[in-house]
Subunit: 447 residues, 4 copies
């Protein structure tokens, strides 16, 4: 009997609604420290304060949501075809969930996973990003305090500040039935291989390469503001950052002109300072990656309309960049993790959808339109193939009530709302014969 | 645009309830040929006629079920936290589903997959077992006729009679977003690796190693009949065949004596002949595998209580076998695909559950008891870790209304009822802003 | 123990999926007689043949749907806040369902009710309209044959051809826990009073007074064709017939002109004859009612734009009629059961919605628009208050997958799809303590 | 436009998750005053302090639950049978909900209703019991403060301290689409009549007459403790109080002896004092009603085994009473609202179930057994006909995650968990045609 199992018993012995009460208290503990934690996120990750606070608020929202969920982790009673038989679908905890998160959302992604994992009855083993240890430690301490106040072992929620070797250890550990990983498609693919080899389960949130389409019948003002937020927010380091912009030819130049104008006014600087819209990219490596990306872009024929350079200063600041480029350029199919937006021209919705779907990734996507027909085609079988399919809002800004995640190289996992909780549990189809006969399914007679 | 895509358009253009009507007609076509097809299954696979007919009946039941489902592939409307926004969860077809099935259920497993895949709007590419081509061809022809009668291209449902090279081609084909594979954990693991490398999805139904527990308070008569069916039915070649029997020490000898007595009376022979309970194993290779297994069992200290030999005759007949063995023997952790039952003694429910859960596989399991406490523990968080968790019925005999499949090395897929259909579709979280403001989630202000 | 109860035992002893199989056979029996029954409906009720056949097809569709439902009458397993407790929500049959239907859909409404009632495990006591006895008898015989073929007492499905005295007897019979009534609000209200006095349940489908709104941004061609079908189809004798037309002032005259033109071309005559669009009204009383209505309309200032008279001939033929009238006229708030359409002018969506909602009835409603904002406002909290809220389709034409029914004086019942089946069952919240302690909810200690 | 409507706009303009945040704050406000409010409930109603606090805790639990629910008031997207059509099931607020509660749960029942009504977007008009004005005022003030803190009109939640005339005014008010009433079947029936006459909706929680069955195979210790709590708790003034006890003949005398022994030790007195198990009945009228009841019981042949008298003292104290009586006595079919338990002998489960179901009321019921067969029969189609069907726990003690309410003369309403929220909303089936064709359902061609 593993140590994990022994710790998990404490949690499983609590009925789900009691686990919900623990998560409610975690939410209250975070609520009390909202401003402080938000600043810490901003300071350590580099995103602007409003986003730092917004990220913590999202964890709090998840806690509130999970409290309600703790009374709704419902199984089913299914009509049996056999007399004196009951058929149930029962959901039980997995035991332990490994959670590996990335630097760009140092606590929100943990929150999505941990809130649900805990109400489902699972211990959590968390590896935060190696570059955001303070957030990892702060969140862990808050949770530990709540657990202890409730006479529960704080080992129910364990965390690590460390690098790839710890991630690999989690991926390979047979005691961890589920590994939830957020990061690049490349690393995610390796994690998946390790986990599958030991017949574990993965929940993957991998690369995005998110397109935004503006049709000729769109509300242009709404579209322009959305593009700005989607492309330069968090210095282009959201998994849902808009990286590809498809503009209908009839409004192409006009939208582009407005965008370039706005880009030039964006205030770049200290993320904690009021008025700043764009902070630094996360690390020096990110900055170098940006520079390398710009050079590749140029070599593939991309034309820099604005931005395109790093900013010489103390921090890792880079310029929000708009690139006019052919949709055939191979760089357009990749995720460059910074504030670089590729702009391309389209003639029809069909063409736009085909281009939207033409990349390996399948996270988020957005269309701006005022036609019902376009809306319903876009969300239908021949529309966007992404996990997030928006209309008249940016590619980002998911609400916790919906399922968050993407298709194809984005990994297929779903977090937060809807039935995402099912991934954190195991399902049993149970048939109970309470009579004294032995009828077989499909009316088979035997012996 | 791939050929698959072009064919798929015919299906997707049909609204789901119209696809349901196609599947209803397939059900009627099978119903008309129930006896013939049942005989063919029996002849080609080797299972007894009642089981052959039962297998076809299961496909018919699936058709009926899928018709209803075609009006219930429901998405959700989720309350948005933003004014003038609608949030939807929409389900769309994947396009094409690859289905690779095994010899032991040459048509039922196809039925589980194809009925749901079709109403969900997917084309099906089926590879049947290389040793059951007649069933593959017969079923394919029936379906093709229905498609053609409805002016649909029969390419909507394509099948192959072939071996591993075709399976590998399907697994590697980027045009097939989902591959549903039924077979051994070893091969399944390879399929999964191929599919994941191209960021496709798998639905795996792999090895089982199913235990049946008889507690001291059980209805012994019910238990004995169930064990017989579970262990020797289909000559031990069901994925849900009972392979491990845990008997409470107080009833150990008595149950064993009754079982050995029954085993000796089991009629082995022509599966099409009335009264036969056990037909041949499927191929000469199966027969050799049985012999090899018995020899390994002996080398690990297993004591043959009855059976243990192949039967010298024209067909591939082997004796249903009971083995008394230590639960530590490594052979007990593996799936020997034939009518071999390992018997072990237990003292408590806790011990029995720990042994039940101690193997890599997690498909089916059963307890016989008359205590509510035992029932609810068995199906609860510290109970059986299998996908199928039965009480007072054999390890087999799943009904289509429930989800069929197992955990751990069994692969985690779920077929037939419950929300299994979701695996055959892709999910989008859609947020539609129909107002003219741009509120951001989590109350973020930007710019 | 009542006779009903004794008959019901036969049905309840069949597991739900077996009851589904009975309903499947009923569907097949109807399918075989589709043309004949369709003609009979047309002959006896007076609707045109296409509609007669469509009505029978709807019953067949319901049968297919109910078959799938028979494996999905799912209860829930709800997480309990107490250790060693299971909480279930279980659905059980009511026993007997009384179904009282109206002349205008002599078999579809029975089908909605009976298919679901039967798979839920209820006997059915049906009173058809006194003026459509042939359809009642034909349908009853078909169902009886299926029941008998399955060795079930045909008393499971009983029917009456009779009038109000039988309806009253059903409403007052304490052995009938649920009475499903379709008819006028006036009679429905009486039925409800009788049933409630004995603490039975009602499912009411009462009067409609359905409005169709055409906005200035609508597809006018689509709107005009829809209005024609909605207002004159079935000679205006559908519960979902469009009776009120609100036209935006900017397209008012143009739509009206087109409509009046079309009305003049409508072929009135023998409903069984090809090309006929409008048959007779159902009875001489209906014809007189039409005449009386027209006279009231005139007295309240209504201006007849086309039609307005009965047709002198053998049958009960009346002219499809368009009336220009003030929305303040009291006659607009009532349901005149014939092909009379009130036309009124509106300036804004808000005004149109307020008028739509200003009548006592709340069955169906429709808006024609090409603006997403209008669509989502129309279906939202400040939109139409009806049970059926359509966009760019007529007020009628419900699909069986959705729930059919209306609010306010329409009675609040829901039939056909969605979770309508719950009305045909009783719900129990079951908590099972399988441990040996006695923890109380809300953490109360007692004694 | 009514005043209600104008106030309601404030609530409806808040998206549901924001309404959830209001309810979360209400929960926190109550949490802060838990002890005080619990004492007030105890003081004013007369229940013991543990129950008073438990009752307030239940409201807090409901708040937490409703917060989660505010993101899960999900509609559905249903597959349409027509191309280019979307079918939705949408849920919208009703506007205003009238809530009429009884003295015995002066705040819990309000909590069940108000939490759900508010997150669903409805204003609440509450009439508390005329004899518990302090609790009504205290709760109202707490809620008003929260509303005001959030800049919402406190008129969103309005309350009255008053009698039948206010209840009647609510029942007859056409601006209140739903009236939730808790009280006697007699008054409830009148309320229903008033509400139905104006085509409003009712949610009724009326009389209970709850039976507890002890089978010969039961855990007797558990049963006896449960009976004591169920029958004398809250001085027999819960709607779920156990009023009828059916003991298997083989354990009849033994259980009865233990019960009588326990009844004699029950401490009656000041409900706020530690150790008290039974406080006074609510009013002098309750006390007189008890006396009258005892006299009727005696006149019908009931034999008082213990208790049977009022206690001469300052408060309205009465003795917990056990009565041996024939199940034919008419008094057994009625709800005597005090601590009087009728005991009867049964021989079989079938007999016990028939007796359980033989009264007009259908609220709660309980069986004590250790046989799975008995459990599943009890909760099945031929088992208890009540809304609450327990096993091995008392008739009371419902958890908020399940639906609370009963059948037959208990009124059929359901409050708290499961899908009870649907009663607080109106449902629309919406079909949207976003194409340019006009296909009709059931394949009808028209014109």
């Amino acid at each position: 009997m593993s140590l994990f199992y022994k710790v998990n018993i404490f949690l499983v012995q609590l009925p789900a609604p009691k686990r919900g009460e623990i998560v409610r208290q975690i939410g209250d503990a975070l609520r009390e420290k909202l401003q402080h934690l938000g600043r810490l996120v901003s300071l350590e990750m580099g995103k602007i304060l409003a986003e730092g606070i917004g990220e913590v608020q999202e964890v709090i929202d998840m806690c509130d949501y999970a409290v309600g969920l703790s009374r709704q982790l419902n199984g089913s009673i299914v009509p049996s075809e056999r007399p004196d038989h009951m058929m149930f679908e029962v959901w039980n905890p997995l035991g332990v969930v490994g959670v590996i998160t990335a630097f760009n959302f140092p606590c929100a992604v943990l929150g999505w996973n941990a809130c649900i994992a805990l109400v489902c009855g699972n211990c959590v083993v968390w590896k935060g990003a190696p570059t955001t240890p303070l957030v990892t430690i702060a969140v862990t301490k808050l949770i530990a305090e709540v657990l202890e106040k409730n006479n529960l072992p704080s080992a129910i929620f364990t965390s690590f500040c460390g690098g790839a070797e710890i991630g690999e250890a989690i991926a390979k550990d047979t005691r961890i039935p589920l590994v939830s990983f957020t990061g690049s498609s490349k690393v995610g693919s390796k994690v998946q291989k390790f986990v599958n080899e030991r017949f574990g389960k993965c929940l993957l949130e991998l690369s995005g390469n998110n397109a935004l389409i503006v049709m000729d019948d769109a509300n242009i003002g709404l579209a322009v503001r959305s593009i700005l937020f989607a492309a330069v927010g968090t210095a282009g380091q959201r998994c849902t950052t808009c990286r590809r912009l498809y503009l209908h030819e009839s409004i192409y130049q006009s939208v582009l002109d407005q965008l370039v104008g706005l880009y030039k006014q964006v205030k770049i600087g200290d993320p904690l300072e009021k008025g700043t819209l764009v902070g630094p990219v996360h690390t020096q490596a990110s900055r170098e990656n940006f520079e390398k990306g710009i050079s590749t872009i140029k070599s593939q024929g991309g034309k820099i309309l604005t931005g395109g350079s790093v900013i010489e200063s103390d921090g890792n600041f880079v310029q929000p960049t708009i690139v006019e480029i052919s949709s055939d350029a191979s760089v357009v199919k990749e995720e460059l993790f910074g504030p670089v937006l590729y702009v391309m021209k389209i003639k029809t919705l069909e063409e736009a959808i085909e281009l939207n779907n033409s990349v390996p990734q399948g996270l988020s996507s957005s269309v701006f339109t005022s036609k019902p027909e376009t809306i319903f085609k876009w969300i239908g079988p021949h529309g966007s193939d992404c996990g997030i399919v928006n209309v008249n809002i940016p590619t980002n800004g998911a609400e916790i009530g919906g399922a968050f995640g993407g298709e194809k190289a984005t990994g297929g996992g779903r977090e937060a709302g809807s039935d995402s909780w099912k991934q954190y549990m195991r399902r049993s189809t149970c048939t109970i014969n309470y009579g004294s006969e032995l009828p077989l399914a499909q009316g088979i007679n035997f012996g």
